[in-house]
Symmetry: C2
Subunit: 252 residues, 2 copies
Amino acid sequence: MGTTQLQTVPEPKYWHLKTVIGEALDSEFAVGEILPNERDLAARFGVARATLRQALEQLELEGRLQRRRGVGTTVAPPRVGVAVEGSRAHSWPGARGDVWQPAGCERGSAPAAVADLLDSEEPVHVVRRTRVSHGRPVAAELLYVPVSSVAELSSIDGPSGPGRARAVLRELQRLGLEGEDRSVELGSASADDARELDRLPGAPVLVVTTRFFAEGRTAAVAVATYRADTCRLTFGDTPHVEIDHRQERRAS
Amino acid sequence: MGTTQLQTVPEPKYWHLKTVIGEALDSEFAVGEILPNERDLAARFGVARATLRQALEQLELEGRLQRRRGVGTTVAPPRVGVAVEGSRAHSWPGARGDVWQPAGCERGSAPAAVADLLDSEEPVHVVRRTRVSHGRPVAAELLYVPVSSVAELSSIDGPSGPGRARAVLRELQRLGLEGEDRSVELGSASADDARELDRLPGAPVLVVTTRFFAEGRTAAVAVATYRADTCRLTFGDTPHVEIDHRQERRAS
């Protein structure tokens, strides 16, 4: 949707090239198809490699192309609307209907930025969770829960792993949730993120940070990393806002 | 926040370099300071230019560095929390307390993706608005209002310009707003966006698309483009979620 502005100023060369390649993607390529290499593409469009690369980067940012580990550059499917927040009341991670799957749990210390949000340096349970949509991983999450937030946690479920993660989430439900807030910002995939999301390290991601408030303080902080190439985050009553110029253009 | 994961796998070379440069930014550079050129930096850290460039790109994605038009690469100030949605009731663009400033209005046709959301091919008023935070432009918006949504609009305010924009917004207030939904996705700045946001064309932006529902249909669609380097979009009761590892690290 970065291209929907009224055009009133001349555009740089690679921008025009981006439009031309975008039209070629619509007419000549199928979703998932691998693009020719940069040298061949530069020759075909009569541009320098640097210009071509700029155009390809723009198309990747806009979700038209994907760079895939060990595969190359492929034509991306339309972005999927992923509901971050619906209209239903606030609820704890792991509550009924939660779409996230617990993957593991470790005990450790929170990174400085998270400790700041928690306003505490105490040890935390770090619950790892993943979110799958249409059979593909779309997001990875680390949920930081100060040990004092789940003080009643028994050691019966083992020190780590998915069982432990479920136990921590179960204990959280006992607290009265008073509210939550969220922020969304741009980030880049760490090596761990990249592996979980089937992306290359450094790929752009959308980072959603959620603070959960209970008993007058921040009782947990979730840092979720969504694939920026395939996801459109949705908020509000209608989770599937369809914004797909590709389909539109194909149909016309 | 893309770097807050538990590190369990080896990281690529530029990732380590990114961390090293990040520490140098904290200890040796002030916000706004211009970085040495790539050749000097590559020599200082003993890496190839390509590796250096990858590390700088990551730091830009994470909001630590900014590429500025005609200036070069500078050390970025901490990201500013920008409230996209508070806890107050839904309201029309231009309602009391709205932080956006109308900049102009033209009549035209909606891009295919917007027409799809409006479920209509009819002509639209395109209201341009800008949002300023701490004296700097942080977002540009195009609000698409089908002519039938504001059928009572008089021609007294002139055919275009800020006065016309205000008139369209005023007419919108007359409709009973039934709800709205939003999506957030990654995009790249068009030449127009870039000029308004004081960025380079193609820079990553966060695109927030809002549908406004009234009288049983989509009565208007807003496409807002936020600077991804300087903004953290906030949702919920507490607009200023402070996540600033830089300050944390400086303080420690």
